[in-house]
Amino acid sequence: MSGSSEGHDRRNWVWRVFALPGLIWLILLFIVPFYAILSVAMGRLDPIFNTGEPVWNPIQWDPSIFGEVLGEIFGGQLGVIFLRTITYVAIASLLALLIGYPVAYFISRHAGRRKWIYLLLVLAPFWINYLMRMLAWVNLLEADGYVNDALMFLGILDAPRDWLGGNSETVVLGLAYGYVPFLILPLFAALDRIDPSAIQAARDLGASPFRAFLHVTLPLSRQGILAGMVIVMLPMFGDYYTNNLLARSPRTRMIGNEIDLFINSTGGGARGAALTVILMAFVALLMIYYLVSVTRASKETTA
């Protein structure tokens, strides 16, 4: 047995070599790029061309751009955009939860032997390109599209409505539609882990189905709810394409659009980078929470 621990040590060295190419890749093309964002954001302005220049030495970093951008967020045009983004994301993710929970609940507890068929159908949108799913709604929401046709046939609308002309509702519904599948999966995983005998016990002790759900199922799926909400909120906060396709208007502009506009304009690099850092700091809390809950969950399953 003493030989095995010695062999273990030797192999440990080998395993690090295995991990090396991947780790070097991620350091060069994941960590270093983050450093580049900071270096560009806190770089200097070229006085002749008026373009941003990165400063690689952190001692010479000039953080004044953050003051400027934060000033615009608290009491400027950017503030409106930030608030709008938060509102859209909050409503869209809650909507996604309201839609996703019953679906995940049904598959985990009532789908029976056909579970895999339902899962297949719920998983399908994952592998249908997001932009194609948006294209589908653009087709449907055109002035002479099926949605207006249907609403007018039912007498809900008298005249075709311009759904794609910069409506907040369209963007929020688009976000919810786009990201619901990502929320259903962690929810399903959490609900599927619940021991049915816990619910049966509550029922045997006289709880109504509703009370059993409220006091057993819901608390036990809390982890899945939170993980699912985080999973959909992260991409929503950085989204710029959904509202560019479904609203085509500055009235629904989100943080992601601002970043996209600055980064793709000459001389906007530093501001774009600074906004990206602020967005990242904003969502970092969500990410850390998610990582902590994932590692805790994986510890529980390995234990």
């Binding site: 440990n12 991990a19 019953p102 029922r203 999973i231 991409p235 950085g238 994986s298």
Partner: protein, 310 residues
């Protein structure tokens, strides 16, 4: 409460249609019917728009809102605007395939090695390494897109924006998915087989080559397919790292096309992308299924894919 009271005060003698419907829905411990109904509404809401979009790709006319009959006009027929005859659409198709092909061939070996390394390596450095692997999965894509854009513009200037930058970007976020797939297999296999081989005199290299890799083979094939599917599906990274019209992919072309001049040819090329994704994912599911059959596992690979913890 008030609803219950209202129905109670109704005449009990006639089991009305409404009441039948009510009991059908409120059957307490049986199958909750309203949940099933909700499920089907969800599926229709989720999938019908896409099916309609596919249908309009086959429309025999310019409209994307009114059906004019079936044709392949937008795939091959139309002389200037069909997928095959519009150079920008055809080039987007080939660019998508090019990026995905190279990405899958580079990301898979790196990811497999990283997965083996991370699951076996204990002690100092393994925790940060695991964390580093998880980060690309949860970083908002726009942040990674901006970061890679800036690093190629200002630091690794040897890499021009365009195909190479796009490939490097795709590999960066694909590696972690490969690790997830392979790692879950590694944990399922355990170390016993390898240690048995070692006890019987195999070298570490032999144990890896003759025992571990063959056992991992289906997971590796599945990783290739999933890496391909993830790459063709990407929009944000391709968008930020594109360099000129020749480096547009199908998703970036859909984006610009929808904003400028939408035509059913966009539906057609989106349908082609959809078919490619479905083929890749079906292949991945079949590989994983074979693995499960060999191990005598119950259920289907679909459930396993659904439980894949990110």
């Amino acid at each position: 409460m008030s609803v219950g009271a209202a129905t109670k005060s109704e005449p009990v003698a006639t089991p009305s249609g409404l009441q039948k419907v009510r009991t059908w829905f409120a059957n307490p411990w049986g199958k909750p019917r309203w949940l099933k109904l909700f499920m089907w509404f969800y599926l229709i809401w989720s999938l019908a728009p896409v099916i309609i979009a596919v249908q309009f790709g086959f429309n025999d006319g310019r409209s994307r809102t009114a059906w004019q009959g079936f044709s392949l006009l937008w795939y091959t027929g139309e002389p200037d605007l069909s997928v095959w005859n519009d150079p920008s659409l055809r080039s987007a198709l080939f660019q998508t395939l090019r990026l995905a092909g190279v990405t899958m061939l580079i990301a898979t070996p790196i990811g497999v090695a990283l997965a083996i390394g991370l699951t076996r390596w204990r002690g100092r450095g393994s925790k940060p390494a695991n964390l580093l692997m998880l980060f690309p999965l949860i970083t908002p894509e726009i942040v990674l897109g901006v970061a890679l854009f800036l690093v190629f513009v200002y630091l690794f200037q040897i890499v021009q924006l365009g195909t190479v930058a796009q490939i490097l970007g795709h590999i960066t976020f694909t590696i972690s998915y490969v690790v997830l797939i392979v790692r879950s297999r590694l944990l399922a296999i355990g170390r016993e087989y390898e240690e048995a081989a070692r006890d019987l005199g195999a070298s570490a290299g032999q144990a890896l080559r003759l025992i571990l890799l063959p056992m991992l083979a289906p997971a590796i094939w599945a990783s290739l397919a999933i890496a391909f599917a993830i790459s063709i599906d990407d929009f944000v990274i391709s968008y930020f790292l594109r360099g000129g019209a020749a480096t547009e992919t199908i998703p970036t072309r859909l984006y610009s096309g929808l904003r400028l001049a939408p035509s059913p040819a966009l539906n057609a090329i989106a349908t082609i992308l959809l078919v490619m994704s479905m083929v890749a994912i079906t292949a991945a599911a079949l590989f994983l299924n074979r693995l499960r059959k060999r191990e005598g596992a119950k259920g289907s690979a679909v459930e396993e894919l659904a439980r894949l913890d990110i």
